[in-house]
Amino acid sequence: MASVTYKNVYKRFGDVIAVNNLDIRVDDKEFLVLVGPSGCGKTTALRCLAGLEDISEGEILIGDRVVNDVAPKDRDIAMVFQSYALYPHLSVYDNMAFGLKLRKLPKEEIKRRVNEAADILGIRDLLDRKPRQLSGGQRQRVAVGRAIVREPKVFLFDEPLSNLDAKLRVAMRAEISKLHQRLQTTFIYVTHDQIEAMTMATRIAVINKGILQQLDTPQNLYDRPNNLFVAGFIGSPAMNFFPGKLRKDGTKLLVDTGDFSVTIPPKHAKSYESHAGKDVIFGIRPENIHDADFIPPNIDAEKVNVKVDVTELMGNEIFLYLVSGKNTFVSRVDPRSKLRVGQNAQVAFDMDTFHIFDAVTEKAIR
């Protein structure tokens, strides 16, 4: 049980900076997810923590100990690999017992721990098999089991679910969350899948191009993204962005996209007034764009004329791909909506939940 700290960590491969001034403190028993597009440096950051890569600058601490020069085996961590990395020549039992045998634990203790982990993961009857005789999901469990038996201070997961099919991924997601509650240990989990991040994490670190974009709880990330990247990365379908200008029209403050303009309600306008006249990017999530016929009560709705380009019927909701001038965007509307492809219609922007970003710095304006 330990905290993990990245202190101004840099990792360079030649001229490429894979991890750029990473500064994170992960508390004990936390479930931190590092998320970002592929090649953003999140896996490198994890591997630096594991000791599989040396860091170029900065410090990494596990608990209170600086581990920069500590060999992986002495860091008291366990890691689940994307490829599972099960030893093909060893049985499931021996795979799980490998680390314990190397640490010279008594035989009975090894047996107890392996069996216990096998029970937790429901792989008791697979212990004699070789990895190649297992299905993807079973291999995944063995890989997790191999980490559990070690009873490490920190668990590391490197995209462990990306090789599973969609259904299994959802199931394993829940199981890993359960495992975290049960083991009460620090988990650090790398994924490119923001849904995985949102569903499992206690906190999420969004990384892009080696730089930490935002570190926050899932809900805060969703509701209050720091910048354009985070806003676009978290949430599916992604947030809609409209480049435009913040304009003052008498007392009203409005965002003019060129094709349409929306008025910012007076109760929100205060924080934006000083930015009037600036180029901004207006962001709104699909679920905050409603069919004009089904506007929820008590919201500040701004109506916009659109043309329906594509519809995706999901049963419990409908995704509309809409066009307004040069802007195309998505809305998630009430399933009762009658809007169909090719129709000209009106949709309503919920002006209580929107985001405005500086077009130059891409930072959120609040």
């Binding site: 594991a50 000791g51 085996k73 961590i77 030893y87 020549h89 680390g99 190397l102 640490r103 191999r146």
Partner: protein, 306 residues
């Protein structure tokens, strides 16, 4: 296609069509042609080998014959007996087992030494980046271009000065010249196919580099080690030219040298040469045919992987 629907076909045309034309797969005509070609090719491949068996079975007085029969008249095993156990009535002893033992001991030790040297260094070449790595690999590649006989002369003089001519050790050293680089290259090719993840997992599990090597890499590469062993073994087993230079005394001869002593006086010993050949070739060929699949995979792993 149109003609088939337009008018009915006569039975002969139908049969011919069946024989020559198929929209899927091969027509019977083509099948027959292919089999015929393959049978001819097989005969060409096998017949010279069978001839050796034939000659080995001939009695000594009809050795020289223009007969092409596969099993000769009055077939006898006398040649085999003499090759294996000598001929007391002619007061002639047999060195056959001695030759086999010489070959076996020399070649297997060569292979073992190459494996020991190669197993660890190939790992370094496969997994680590270090100054000199590229130079080393190009060097290894170049050694495969060196003619086998090229370094023979300096080696021969060196061995002569160390008084190692006519010793097993001398030939072991001479053979290692070509097997060591080849084995390194083959094993490096195989190590490259083992996922690095496995080693990293082991490192995190508590292994150091050495335990990773002994407990993960070596067990996983047993097939490659076997291939490499087989490679250098097969390479040395029937080698003639180097052995002829290094070994000049009858009692240290390897079997290719020994068997050549029969061939030199060929009118006399053609039968014995053939008998000895059969005795040696059969186990080798069985082993070879059995292992050829792995040998090929080894080749594609190592040398042919340009």
């Amino acid at each position: 296609m149109n003609s088939t629907t337009s008018k009915p076909l006569s039975p002969v045309t139908k049969a011919l069509r069946w024989f020559f034309v198929r929209s899927r797969g091969d027509s019977p005509f083509k099948t027959i042609l292919i089999h015929a070609t393959l049978i001819v090719a097989s005969i060409i491949a096998v017949y010279p080998v069978l001839r050796v068996v034939t000659i080995s079975l001939r009695p000594n007085d009809t050795l020289l014959t223009t007969s092409l029969r596969i099993i000769p008249e009055n077939a006898t095993l006398d040649n085999y007996k003499e090759v294996l156990f000598g001929a007391p009535e002619k007061n002639r002893k047999s060195d056959f087992f001695l030759w086999i033992w010489n070959s076996f001991s020399i070649v297997s030790v060569t292979s073992i030494i190459s494996m020991i040297l190669a197993a660890v260094s190939a790992y370094a070449f496969s997994r680590f980046k270090f100054p000199g790595r590229a130079v080393g690999l190009v060097f290894l590649l170049t050694t495969q271009m060196i003619p086998a006989g090229m370094l023979l002369l300096p080696l021969f003089i060196m061995l002569a000065q160390l008084q190692m001519i006519n010793t097993a050790l001398g030939l072991i050293i001479a053979y290692s010249v070509s097997t060591v680089p080849l084995t390194i290259w083959t094993l490096k090719g195989y190590y490259d196919t083992i996922p690095v993840d496995l080693e990293e997992a082991a490192l995190i599990d508590g292994a150091n580099r050495f335990t990773v090597f002994t407990r993960i890499i070596l067990p996983l590469s047993t097939p490659a080690l076997a291939i490499a062993f087989l490679f250098s073994f097969m390479g040395g087993w029937s080698e003639y030219l180097v052995a002829r230079v290094v070994l000049q005394k009858n009692d240290i001869y390897t079997w290719p040298l020994g068997i050549f002593t029969y061939a030199q006086q060929f009118t006399v010993a053609w039968g014995q040469f053939s008998a000895a050949s059969v005795l040696i070739a059969i186990p080798v060929m069985i082993l070879f045919l059995y292992s050829s699949k792995w040998l090929i995979s080894g080749l594609t792993l190592g040398s042919v992987k340009g």
